[in-house]
């Protein structure tokens, strides 16, 4: 399954993705398939390149001046790095939630939800409806419906993160990338976001980077284990169904990692 076969059913897949920063290679030949409506967890020790990999999936990677890339990222069979493809279109289809909640501090809750449409220059047809739907999908509607005009920074950390999810959802993405979305949050907020992820997977493909093994098991359908030995680029050691990877890992290194022997 690791070879570069492009399943026609898949929404997102990568073919031999290698990544450089300057002359330093940080990822080598990553081949992964993220089928539609599935949650994929990317796990691995710090510095193994999983966040970097995530950023190649919506062309955020190229914003780093020294960044280099080889291979292909296919969104419904279309290579998103083709010269004819507009990075803006890619980022609209492939949304992203960051590690630290980063709502726009000068905007209200409502404006934050609508910011994506405004920023990408798209028409807003039914603003009220969009705001409500997005906030509902991120399960934060009930908490903020009476204060949509408040500054986004008045929310708690967990609420801010769910606001950021809602902000991405307002763009109606096909894929949602999440870069350790709960690492800055308390257990309660984490649980609610995990529930949200499961609900969202009904309507989109989700890729989530996480350091938390339990979280990976709770939310994901399949898991990829990244590893980078010292001074070598990161590779995918093992990729498969989450239960299989955690219960019956094939590679001994995976076994060591998921059982907490190193990392």
């Amino acid at each position: 399954m690791m070879n570069s076969t492009t399943a026609s059913a898949s929404t997102l897949s990568t073919e031999d993705i290698s990544v450089w920063f300057g002359e330093r290679q940080v990822l080598q030949d990553i081949n992964l398939v993220f089928p539609a409506n599935q949650v994929t967890a990317l796990i691995g020790p710090s510095g193994c390149g999983k966040s970097t990999f995530l950023r190649t999936l919506n062309r955020m990677h190229e914003l780093i001046p020294s960044a280099g890339l080889a291979g292909r990222v296919l969104l419904d069979g279309q290579d998103i790095y083709e010269p004819s493809v507009d990075a803006v279109d890619v980022r609209i289809k492939v949304g992203m939630v960051f590690q630290k909640p980063n709502p726009f501090p000068t905007m209200s809750i409502r404006e934050n939800i609508l910011s994506g449409l405004k920023l990408s220059g798209r028409k807003i047809t039914d603003a009220d409806d969009l705001v409500e739907t997005s906030l509902r999908r991120a399960s934060i509607w009930n908490e903020v419906k009476d204060r949509l005009g408040d500054q986004a920074l008045s929310l708690s950390g967990g609420q801010q993160q769910r606001l950021c999810i809602a902000r991405s959802l307002a763009m109606n993405p096909e894929v949602l990338l999440m870069d350790e979305p709960c690492s800055a949050l308390d257990p309660g907020s984490t649980r609610r976001i995990e529930e949200t992820i499961q609900e969202l997977s009904a309507s989109m493909t989700i890729v989530i980077v996480t350091h938390n093994m339990q979280q990976a098991q709770r939310v994901s359908d399949q898991t990829a284990f990244f590893l980078a030995d010292e001074n070598t680029p990161g590779v995918v050691v093992e990729f498969g169904r989450t239960e299989d990877l955690f219960n019956t890992p094939i590679d001994p290194r995976t076994n060591d990692y998921v059982n907490g022997h190193f990392g």
Partner: protein, 348 residues
């Protein structure tokens, strides 16, 4: 910002410290007041040596050689810092004290139409110079602020390799001698039909304001978390929209600070205006033609005369100028303070 790995002080130590620092001052003061010594002699000849010896002995008794070094270090840094403080207070105090004597309502709003060097202070004022300064400075601002912000945007948002060089050149421009800025515009005037006016004055101030605005704006844009820009770009925003709708609003108070500090930098500039605007004793509201007065040139002009009423006018205008600077500087400070409070609260 404040780091004190040496924090240590018992009550007795504090008392001893107080004694050590007050006795030499008292002795010095005694010599000056009772002994009729000149103040400077009292300071340099009596106070300083006694203070150095007392502090040194105290430190030696406390911790031998280590104590000696520490005591002298603390004494000298405190002494020199106090000197800075005294110099500043002396400047502020004298301008406020002397300037206040000249201040009156009509001094603020009247112009100097019928005023000569010996005219008493009951007539005339700096009204025309205040208006002139405001007009000239506003004209400079209109050009320098957008350009300075654009430079700051380049230095923070673009990925260009030229940024280091641009930053160095901009910083070097910040050290441009103000008289050279005046000469530059004067040289330009040789090749154009520009006549001396408020406009040429504003042009001469432009190279002086630009680097200040660029530097402060750069710093404030740098304070905006990179995350916000990334979030905007990840939502499909082009860079310019990410900047205008997300980054710029987040840096608003910093940008205003850049404007205010830029204004404070040029509002008191004298030499360029002396070279490029003609003096005027009457009000001129058209910066594009005719001579135009300004506060700094007013001070310069009346200081040149030795008559006491002229001197008083100079002090009065200096006070008005200082008030301008104080308002600009104070507002910038308050805005900056608010900003840092906000970010530190967020960091918690």
């Amino acid at each position: 910002m404040n780091r004190k790995p040496w924090a240590q002080s018992s009550a007795t130590f504090k008392v001893q410290l107080a004694l050590v620092s007050t006795i030499p001052v008292a002795i010095g003061a005694l010599f000056v007041i009772l002994g009729g010594f000149d103040f400077s002699i009292g300071l340099i000849g009596v106070f300083l040596p006694i203070q150095v010896i007392v502090v040194g002995v105290f430190g030696w008794l406390k911790a031998k050689k280590r104590g000696l070094g520490d005591a002298l270090l603390i004494f000298f840094t405190t002494f020199f810092s106090t000197l800075v403080l005294v110099l500043l207070l002396s400047v502020l105090g004298s301008v406020i004290f002397e300037g206040f004597k000249a201040l009156s309502p009509h001094f603020i709003y009247e112009n100097n139409r019928y005023v000569g060097t010996t005219t008493s202070l009951e007539y005339g004022g700096v009204g025309h110079a205040i208006l002139g300064t405001i007009l000239i400075v506003l004209l400079t601002t209109v050009a320098a602020v957008p350009l300075g912000i654009a430079m700051a945007v380049y230095l923070t948002q673009s990925q260009s390799k030229m940024r280091g060089v641009v930053r160095t050149v901009t910083q070097s421009l910040a050290g441009l001698p103000s008289v050279v800025a005046g000469l530059f515009i004067l040289a330009v005037m040789q090749f154009t039909h520009l006549e001396r006016s408020g406009l040429t004055g504003a042009l001469a101030l432009f190279p002086l304001m630009l680097p200040t605005v660029a530097r402060v704006a750069e710093e404030s844009l740098r304070l905006v978390p990179a995350d916000l820009r990334m979030a905007a770009l990840a939502l499909g925003a082009p860079n310019y929209k990410a900047f205008f709708q997300v980054i710029l609003p987040a840096a608003k108070s910093g940008i205003v600070t850049a404007l205010l500090l830029g204004l404070a930098r040029i509002v008191g500039e004298t030499a360029p205006l002396i070279l490029t605007t003609n003096m005027n004793n009457t009000t001129n509201l058209n910066p594009f033609s005719g001579p135009m007065a300004s506060l700094p040139t007013y001070v310069y002009n009346f200081l040149g005369s030795s008559y006491s009423s002229s001197q008083q006018r100079a002090w009065g205008a200096a006070l008005v100028l200082l008030i301008f600077v104080g308002i600009l500087f104070g507002t910038a400070r308050i805005l900056g303070r608010k900003k840092s409070l906000k970010t530190s609260k967020k960091a918690k």
